[in-house]
């Protein structure tokens, strides 16, 4: 069995390099949902997160973010979609809701990020209304701290974002997995950079450590979307429990 030292000493072997996958479609690509409101409040944020994921994990990512409508047939080429805004958005049409329901039911994952960072603000209201229409009567529920999304790659103790407006992530489960994940703290905003490469927004109240935590949460969300409950497999449990105690 590999020791930790051996495991960490493997980079020499990585010199074999990575070949390209079968085009960009085989790479992990964020889709940004184009709705009738301000659908792209953090234009650079998801690209930056994709870059961080590629740099930190074995996931191959595409820096391109695909802007796509609710009812666009191409949506199904992108199993992870991000819905964001810093303000409320008009309610989608019924056919769009039906497509979104279909998307989520067959395995799609929707990250809903409130760029306003205002608890109970217009975006949050729009998002909650949307969820209640996807699954009639359903509501977002608190994601417990033991959930695999907090340990899918990094061991995290809670949510993070540009601001600390909400203490927890919330989600909607379909078929035993979280299909809709709601972040009320402007997670993507913490990763956005300006044209000169500087951070676009200050993060508060935790400063740069909080920004790092945001990156880690973004990595974990992507890892959860791709691996689901892999880290709940029995083989991982003793390792994770030991490190949680450290």
């Amino acid at each position: 069995m590999f020791s930790r030292r051996q495991f960490l000493g493997l980079p020499v072997l990585l010199a074999a390099g990575r070949a390209l996958a079968f085009g960009d479609q085989a790479r992990f690509t964020f889709a940004q949902v184009r709705h009738a409101g301000r659908w792209d409040p953090r234009p650079d944020g998801l690209s930056r997160l994709a870059w961080e994921i590629a740099k930190r994990t074995s996931i191959e990512t595409s820096p391109v973010v695909k802007a796509i409508g609710f009812a666009d047939p191409e949506l199904f080429y992108y199993p992870l979609a991000v819905l964001s805004s810093d303000s409320g958005f008009p309610a989608p049409a019924e056919n769009e809701i039906a497509e979104l329901r279909r998307y989520l039911s067959y395995g799609g994952f929707l990250l809903v990020d409130d760029a306003s960072g205002a608890r109970g603000g217009p975006f949050e209201q729009s998002a909650r209304l949307l969820v209640s229409r996807i699954v009639p009567g359903a509501q977002l529920a608190r994601i417990p701290r033991e959930h695999v999304v907090y340990k899918s790659f990094y061991l995290l103790d809670g949510p993070a974002g540009r601001v600390a407006a909400t203490p927890d992530l919330e989600g909607l489960e379909l078929g035993g997995r979280v299909a809709v994940l709601y972040s009320g703290n402007d997670l993507v905003g913490a990763l956005a950079r300006d044209a000169l490469g500087a951070w676009e927004f200050e993060v508060s109240p935790g400063g740069e450590l909080q920004r790092e935590k945001c990156i880690r949460l973004g990595v974990n969300i992507a890892m959860y979307a791709l691996c689901l409950d892999y880290k709940e497999d029995q083989v991982h449990i003793p390792f994770i429990m030991k490190r949680r105690r450290i």
Binding site: A26, Y77, Y106, M223, L228, I246
Partner: protein
């Protein structure tokens, strides 16, 4: 009636008074004598004292005579000869040798009966001698026709004894029973003489004299009983409960060995010797593959043993799969990985163990190891220690090089050739791109590879095309109707590219290709294992993307379920099936028969297929032709094998379609073994006979003992025919004498001054 009709007499009482009246009178008379004596015991003159006592006693005697009315009973008596029952064992165990390499027990018994002819004749002059044969039942027998080839199906000594005791005619008393047997009881007394059996023996009310046959071949070791379930789950421990009997052994460590078709799978030593005869041994093993297997439990044959045939026992065990255990090794998280894992995790028939490479050595997580949930990749544990516990190993876009796995690739290839299953799923780290060329993995793949390079991947979108092989193969059967099946595949979304390979290997089949002929899905066999190569990392398109095109994920789910079932050889997806008529056949009675079912290339009935059978045994693994047949219109055939000696067998059936193409191969296991305990628990049991004799106050007889000298009980019985009674002293003289005696006593008492 003249007195000459009576030949015996006895004194009796003819009184009609009740017994209590007589008892009261007797007491009163005794009291009267005593009171009288008390009155004159101080009399100084001895003559007077004796005279008074004598008259009083005489008077009391005369009163008793009057009350009891004594008489003589005259009887006409006759004497009846008692009977003895001679029982001879006619069960099949008597065909075994009486001594190592000696005559059979039946022959030994015949020899004894001939040597004791005179003895028996003398016995017949004193007793009525009833002769019986016994096995499962008791039946009268002519001793002269004692067979050297007994056929009794079982031995029931107690039933024979009680039956013989109750079978007497004319009410003759039973003077005793004589039983000649090996004592190999397999009924009530098989476990010894129980309390119930002892009570039954007491009811015989006659001694049992037992002649043990074959006692000189007492030493024997036998596998008496095996208890095991009819089926077991692969990779789950199976416990076989074995009962070994050992008689005539000193303290000896005996190895008890369990073999699967000649290969030892478990063994344990048991110490035998002393008074104990039965020993329970638990043999445990873990079956590592599914199928039907013949197992044999054996103990060594020691010198001087009565029987060698019972030193081993075979059984058939069907090993089934509770869940398909799948090892999924993933080089990198991707949507292809995510959808396959989700599918396998949801399948209740799959036990999924997965390992994902979440971080390569070149990735920089900006954290310490303790802040990560990552675990080391346990290559040695998975690929060396646990490999054989998996039914299927899947490499999904996984490059072995960074993980120093070259040392394990040989083992993986051997695992597949030994019956395992392997699937490689494409991507930029698979096949040639994963540097598997010239490795043991390439040897088992159905495609050839080349060193990694820019040509390892072809990113031209692929429109799926179902090949001729694919149209017939169960893995690519999305619909039972051929055109619908083709249509279902052609409607699926285009794949973004494929891994390129070299030429296909012989025996492999391309099931899916691009419209230009580039292979997409290839299957083949390696040794006894099956291999699948999916040269794409985008089969998830058949699920999620197809769902977006209003097709739903059914094609994806059906494809992977079928692929896994085919890879692990699900019986429902094999073109041939064979099943023995029964798991065990009786030797010498009926030859084993096999039912064979052959399917055509379209998985329909293969009418006219040529079927051939070879059989091999655990003792002789070299296959021998055992039969042939032609499949009927329904694709079925029954093949009757030649008679086989006892043992564990494997039948391997092959078939060719009428066009000469091979259909495949199927196996089944069966045993040929006696089912009767009579031939298994055949060890002589002189100890049992000793216990029977002791319980009935009889004894064990030596072959040289004379029957006439045995302590038979009650040789005769007296029966009374007629009887009559003649009264004694029933006349006036007794009454007069009583008056004279009483008067004389009264007179003397008055004269001598007594009141």
């Amino acid at each position: 009636m003249s007195s000459t009709a009576y030949n015996a007499w006895r004194i009796t009482s003819l009184s009609t008074l009740p017994a209590w009246v007589l008892a009261l009178a007797l007491t009163t008379l005794a009291a009267a004598v005593w009171l009288s004596f008390r009155g004159f015991r101080s009399e100084p003159a001895g003559l007077r004292r004796r005279a008074l006592l004598g008259f009083r006693l005489l008077a009391a005697l005369l009163i008793l005579i009057l009350l009891f009315e004594p008489g003589i009973e005259l009887r006409s008596e006759s004497r009846v000869r008692a009977r003895i029952a001679l029982l001879f064992d006619t069960s099949r165990s008597m065909k075994f040798p009486a001594s190592p390499a000696g005559p059979s027990r039946a022959e030994e018994m015949i020899r004894w009966s001939q040597a004791h002819k005179r003895d028996l004749a003398q016995l017949a002059s004193r007793f009525q001698v009833d002769v019986y044969g016994f096995d499962k039942e008791l039946q009268p027998m002519d001793l002269a026709r004692l067979s050297a080839d007994p056929q009794g199906p079982s031995t029931d000594v107690l039933n024979a004894l009680t039956g013989a005791a109750a079978a007497g005619t004319g009410g003759r008393p039973l003077a005793g029973l004589f039983v000649a047997t090996d004592g190999a009881d397999n009924a009530e007394l098989s476990e010894g003489v129980s309390q119930t059996a002892t009570a039954e023996l007491h009811k015989l009310n006659a001694p049992v004299f037992a002649l043990p046959i074959g006692a000189q071949a007492l030493k024997d070791l036998a596998v008496e009983k095996i208890a095991v379930d009819d089926f077991a789950f692969v990779r789950n421990q199976v416990t076989v409960d074995v009962t070994v009997t050992a008689r005539g052994f000193g303290s000896t460590d005996v190895p008890v060995v369990l073999k699967r078709e000649g290969q030892v799978v478990a063994q344990k030593a048991v110490r035998v010797g002393g008074d104990q005869a039965r020993y329970d041994v638990k043999l445990a093993f873990v079956p590592d593959r599914t199928g039907k297997f013949a197992f044999t439990v054996s103990v060594p044959v020691y010198e001087g043993e009565a029987l060698a045939q019972n030193n081993q026992k075979s059984f058939v065990l069907k090993v089934i799969r509770d869940r398909v255990r799948v090892l999924l090794v993933v080089g990198r998280p991707s949507w292809d990985v995510r959808f396959l894992r989700q599918l396998l995790k949801r399948d209740p028939n799959v036990d999924l163990i997965s390992f994902f490479i979440l971080r390569t050595p070149g990735d920089d997580p900006h954290s310490s190891q303790d802040e990560l949930s990552l675990i080391p990749f346990p290559t040695q544990e998975i690929f060396q220690e646990q490999l054989k516990t998996f039914d299927l190993v899947i490499f999904q876009n996984f490059n072995h090089r960074p993980y120093r796995m070259s040392q394990y690739l040989d083992g993986i290839a051997a695992y597949v050739r030994d019956g395992g299953a392997f699937a490689m799923i494409g991507g930029d780290q698979s096949f040639s791109a994963g540097d598997y060329a010239s490795t043991p993995i390439e040897e088992i793949l159905p495609v050839t590879l080349f060193p990694p390079g820019p040509t390892a991947l072809d990113e031209t979108p692929v429109q799926l095309h179902l090949t001729d092989s694919g149209k017939r193969h169960p893995v690519t059967e999305l619909a039972t109707n051929g055109p619908q099946n083709e249509s279902a595949w052609s409607r699926l979304p285009k794949l973004p590219g494929v891994n390129t390979t070299g030429p296909l290997k012989g025996g492999s089949q391309v099931l899916l290709s691009s419209s230009e002929g580039r292979p997409v899905l290839v299957v083949g066999e390696a040794g006894r294992g099956r291999v699948l190569a999916l040269l794409s990392d985008s089969s998830w398109y058949w699920s999620f993307v197809a769902a977006g095109q209003q097709q739903g994920p059914r094609a994806y789910e059906t494809f992977w379920h079928s692929a896994i079932r085919w890879l692990v050889r699900d019986p429902a997806l094999t073109p041939m099936r064979v099943a023995s008529e029964r798991p065990a056949f009786e030797p010498g009675s009926e030859p084993p028969a096999l039912d064979v079912q052959v399917r055509g290339s379209d998985y329909g009935a293969a009418a006219g297929a040529q079927i051939a059978v070879v059989e091999s045994s655990a003792d002789d693994p070299v296959p021998r032709p055992a039969g042939a047949a032609v499949a009927g219109p329904d694709g079925n055939a029954r093949i009757v094998l030649p008679p086989l000696p006892p043992g564990a067998y494997k039948a391997t059936v092959t078939a060719r379609r009428p066009d000469g193409s091979a259909v495949g191969e199927a196996e089944d296991a069966f045993v040929v073994a006696p089912s009767s305990r009579e031939l298994i628990e055949a060890t002589p049991r002189p100890d049992l006979l000793q216990a029977i004799a002791s319980a009935t106050r009889g004894r064990v007889v030596d072959p040289g003992d004379s029957l006439t000298n045995l302590p038979w009980r009650d040789p005769e019985r007296v029966e009374v025919g007629q009887r009559t009674s003649v009264p004694l002293w029933d006349n006036w003289k007794v009454l007069v004498l009583l008056c004279l005696v009483v008067g004389m006593e009264w007179t003397l008492r008055r004269r001598w001054g007594y009141a």
